[in-house]
Amino acid sequence: MSLHEEVELLRRIPLFARIEPSKLKLLAFTSERLAYKAGDVLFRQGDPGDSAYIIVEGEAEILVNTADGPLRVAVVRKNDFVGEIAILCDVPRTATVAAITGLTTLRISKELFFRLTAEFPQMAVEIMRVLGQRLERTTADLREATARLRQAGIS
């Protein structure tokens, strides 16, 4: 895929929709396109994080370590991004991400990520929106779980 095509592809991702083409070109040029085979791991919980990933093609699962082994908490698809928590908050990876199908991602380094968010507030807003949605969903899950526990008479 050529750089031009890649810029087109990036433009279709909501996160980057409003970024000017020349910056998208830099993003496309400096970010690494990585292909994973099904079952390959993007990163593991507890690893130090230095980059975020945008899913370009395929599906990946997000796994959290529990006492009973890894637990799938979500599935991410085309145009989703993962791995941003570790670089935003400077903490080790909070979950493991593994490819379910053949997967293509765009790997964005921490450095570039911050540069883009600093230069394009729209992008920061977009990330905030996605993070907000995730928080909302997590809260809903928590509410539901608490309710079920209460029903089961545990708490």
Partner: protein, 884 residues
């Protein structure tokens, strides 16, 4: 070392000096005749005074000559004397040169070997920056002087005397007149010279400080940059240069004054000859020939007289230099030479009790670090020295790297002070906090601890043997080392090895122990073998290549490597690699210079790629300018992604601004070259700029064929072509196994392939070859091409390899993280399980598990015992641990 220069000269070159003196004296005989010849020619040959023709030469009635032929014979006689005299001069000069060089060589060797015997603390006061110029530059003129020291004054003085006698014979008054001012010169010149001498001393000292300062600036260059201190340093340097300038100014003012006086006095001679001599000729009391001879003789006298004065000045200079250098090279407490040359008659073992008896040690400032210190350590045991000041000195004393002021340190009943280095340097090992790695290969650095003496000489052919003998004769004549440098110094037995294979085993074991084996393996993979010198290794690597290719059909590895294929374009390789289908050897086809290579341009032209390259180059340049123009110059993206450096970017910007894409051919050749150089670096899979389409790739394949077919004979050695059946010369082992490029964009491709290669290497028993190549890795100046941790590990491995009776460690591993420290400590203790190990530890927690712990404070033993005993509630060590 001799305290005066003349003693040094007489001691080591008396024979040469005598020969030179005899040569000089003998040469006066022809010289005298040479002086009197002009008079004979003028008076007898030309004027015919007192000659009756035909002349009967030598009175033997064999040859009789008329006036013309007699003159001719006399003139040829003169020529002959000139030749004889010059022959003497030549012989004297050559012989002088030889003896001077030998003496210089001896002096340098002596100074260097003294440096190696200096007591360690000397280096805290004296820096490399001072020592180096003394051995290299300062003594250099001494060689020349030594050669002249006796012969020159005798030769030139003799000349002077001969001339003077000749003049007296001619006319005593004129002779006296000619030399009448010499006594005055004798009196005045030393006076001036004394001042010059003093200044000379000053100059030597200042120059040495200057060298020291330069040395220091280089060592501390990082500090200078980070604190913007360069102007301060330059200002200081200027001041020093100024000091030297004024000293030199004073010196040459005086030197030229001396010269002036000399020249003036010299010219007084002819003044007297012309006035007095002329007067006498007019009066008829002297003939013209005598005056001419006298003028000639006096002129001849000028040269030796000048030489003598010159020599006098040089002598003073040399004396100062010698005194100054020698006084610097005789510090107190220097070891005896025998200490390093003596080999013990039978092996001495240092397995046994370590004892300090009433030991005092003062540091270079005179402060007593240890005072009447006594300590006995049972061996073989593992002892930890913890606590405060004195630890390091105890470790150094035990390794005999420093020597006590009073008292004695003994191991196994042997007084360390009386053991030669051949014992202490082999049976003991010391590893300090900062070890040194020499500028050589890693392997050499490890074997360093086994190379003490020339053990096994090498086989030489007749010619080499002759050269070697000659070298040895010269080395002996200069009192240098007679150890054969080319011989095998490696003491296999000391490492428990018998041959090079078992020695390598021992080295690998030592590397494993300090966890350096993996690093060496990686270095080895990135290193190369020379198939001409190691055909077996190359063949084995090709086996690994074949095995790897077999595995590539496996799904897990699909698409991870793109192979080199003669008929296919490799999308993961640069255009240059694709075009050459090989690796450059040397710099003729170096990637950066391809656009300037005439042959490469010719190939591009033929393949119809030249204009295409220019257009792509322009496009790449404008893309790069667009992408990177507003990034700060030190931005990491430049390094990671751009193939135009931040310094070059403005140039390309200018090119792009200057012309539009369709007018690139209007650019001058240099700018076109710059554009042409860009496409060579493109990698389709990585850069994805869309320039290298199928058509372009097809053309490159065409060019690949043209490039190989038309390659001129003289360029054949500049490329190593890829060939599935052969090892690519100059390519790394890894590249040769892969025989292709790891694909971009395949997640973890490098890791997966790395693991696969490792398995293959183990399966095919290639590890030894890889390690061997890794061991041949050059460490760079002071080991700069290794990381600090790697350097320290090399030093540790070196100490382990020689299997000492006792290993003494001072920190040695404090640069690593806690986990590594604990692992190294455990590994070393395991290795020295049945041998002595003394470890001066900064971190007392690490002392846990040692047989014995000695707590030192202020140079005294506070207490000793097991870790458990010493860490009980309320004991000093427990308090120390709590504080840590």
């Amino acid at each position: 070392m001799e305290h005066s220069l003349y003693k040094f000269i007489i001691k080591y070159s008396l024979r040469q000096q005598i020969i030179l003196t005899i040569l000089a004296l003998t040469s006066f005989i022809p010289y005298y005749y040479y002086l009197s010849m002009p008079k004979t020619i003028v008076n007898q040959g030309i004027a015919g005074k007192g000659v009756t023709y035909p002349v009967d030469l030598f009175g033997l009635h064999i040859v009789s000559l008329n006036a013309e032929s007699y003159l001719l014979v006399l003139c040829f006689g003169f020529l002959l004397l000139v030749i004889v005299q010059q022959c003497f001069k030549y012989a004297i000069n050559v012989f002088q040169g030889i003896s001077g060089e030998r003496m210089l060589r001896r002096l340098r060797y002596e100074l260097y070997s003294r440096v190696l015997r200096f007591p360690q603390p000397t280096f805290k006061k004296m820096s490399a920056g001072e020592i180096i110029p003394m051995i290299t530059a300062e003594v250099e003129p001494l060689g020349g002087f030594i050669a002249d020291s006796f012969a020159l004054p005798i030769f030139q003085g003799g000349m002077l005397l001969t001339t003077f006698i000749f003049l007296i014979v001619q006319n005593p008054i004129m002779a006296i007149a000619a030399v009448s001012l010499y006594p005055f010169q004798f009196w005045v010149i030393p006076k001036l010279q004394r001042i010059v001498n003093r200044l000379g001393k000053e100059r030597v000292k200042t120059a040495r400080q200057l060298a020291d300062r330069i040395h220091e600036s280089i060592s501390g260059v990082q500090e200078i940059h980070t604190h913007d201190a360069s102007n301060r340093f330059k200002s200081e340097f200027t001041r020093r240069l100024g000091k030297i300038y004024w000293i030199r100014y004073e010196i040459f003012q005086r030197k030229f004054m001396i010269k002036f006086i000399n020249n003036f006095l010299q010219q007084l001679g002819p003044f007297f000859f012309y006035s007095i001599g002329g007067y006498l000729v007019i009066k008829g009391q002297l003939d013209l020939g005598q005056v001419i001879a006298a003028v000639t003789a006096h002129k001849e006298m000028g040269a030796p007289w000048k030489e003598l004065l010159n020599h006098y000045q040089q002598r003073e200079d040399a004396r100062i230099k010698y005194d100054q250098v020698v006084s610097q090279f005789a510090p107190d407490g220097m070891r005896e030479e025998a200490d390093q040359t003596t080999e013990p008659a039978e092996p001495v073992s240092l397995v046994g009790e370590v004892q300090f008896a009433g030991v005092s040690y003062a540091d270079e400032t005179g402060a007593h670090v240890l005072e009447n210190f006594s300590l006995t350590l049972d061996m073989p045991r593992h002892v930890a020295l913890v606590g405060g000041s004195g630890r390091e000195e105890i470790a150094l004393l035990m390794a005999r790297l420093i020597e006590p002021v009073r008292g004695k340190v003994s191991i196994a009943g042997q007084n360390l002070g009386q053991l030669p280095e051949a014992v202490t340097g082999r049976r003991l090992a010391y590893v300090g906090p900062a070890g040194y790695v020499f500028n050589s290969t890693i392997g050499d650095n490890l074997l360093f601890s086994l190379r003490h003496r020339a053990l096994k000489s090498v086989a030489r052919d007749a010619e080499a043997e002759r050269r070697f003998r000659r070298e040895m004769v010269e080395a002996q004549a200069s009192g240098n080392s007679l150890e054969d440098y080319d011989a095998d110094f490696t003491d296999y037995a000391a490492a428990g090895a018998t041959d090079s294979d078992s020695l390598r085993e021992a080295m690998i074991r030592a590397l494993k122990l300090v966890q350096l084996d993996e690093d060496i393996y990686q270095l080895g993979l990135r290193g190369s073998v020379d198939p001409a010198r190691a055909p077996d290794a190359a063949a084995r690597i090709l086996e690994a290549r074949a095995a790897l290719k077999g595995k590539m059909h496996d799904d897990a590895y699909a698409d991870l490597i793109e192979d080199w294929h003669a008929e296919r374009y490799n999308r993961n390789a640069t255009v240059a690699e694709n075009l050459m289908f090989g690796l450059p050897i040397g710099d003729k086809f170096a990637p950066d210079r391809l656009a300037e290579n005439a042959y490469m341009l010719e190939v591009l032209e033929k393949a119809g790629l030249k204009t295409r390259f220019l257009a792509v180059g322009y496009d790449v340049a404008s893309t790069m300018v667009e992408l990177f123009a507003d990034l700060p110059p030190d931005h990491e993206f430049f390094q990671q992604f751009s193939f135009i450096s931040s310094e070059e970017l403005p140039d390309y910007q200018e090119i792009v601004n200057q012309v539009s894409a369709d007018k690139v051919d209007q650019l001058d050749a240099a700018k076109r070259n710059r554009l042409m150089s860009l496409p060579f670096k493109l990698i389709v899979a990585r850069h994805r700029l869309g320039h290298i389409d199928d058509e372009f790739q097809e053309a490159v394949l065409q060019a690949r064929k043209l490039f190989a077919e038309g390659l001129p004979e003289k360029l054949r050695s500049a490329v190593a072509f890829f060939d599935p059946e052969h090892y690519t010369l100059g390519g790394s082992i890894l590249d040769n196994i892969l025989f292709g490029k790891i694909a971009y964009g395949q997640a973890q491709a490098a890791e997966k392939i790395g693991r696969l290669v490792r398995t293959l290497i183990d399966e095919l028993d290639l590890r030894d070859i890889v390690i061997e190549v890794g061991l041949a890795y050059e460490t760079g100046i002071a080991g700069a091409r290794l990381s600090g941790a790697q350097r320290q590990k090399v030093v540790l491995a070196r100490a382990i390899l020689k299997r000492p009776d006792l290993i003494i460690l001072n920190e040695a591993i404090s640069g690593y993280d806690n986990v590594t420290q604990a692992q190294l400590l455990a590994a070393l203790r395991e290795e020295f399980k049945d041998r002595g190990l003394v470890w001066a530890l900064h971190n007392p927690h690490l002392a846990d598990g040692f047989d014995r712990v000695v707590l030192i404070e202020n140079g005294r033993v506070v207490e000793q015992g097991t870790y458990e005993e010493l860490t009980r509630e309320g004991r000093p060590l427990a308090r120390l641990l709590a504080g840590n």
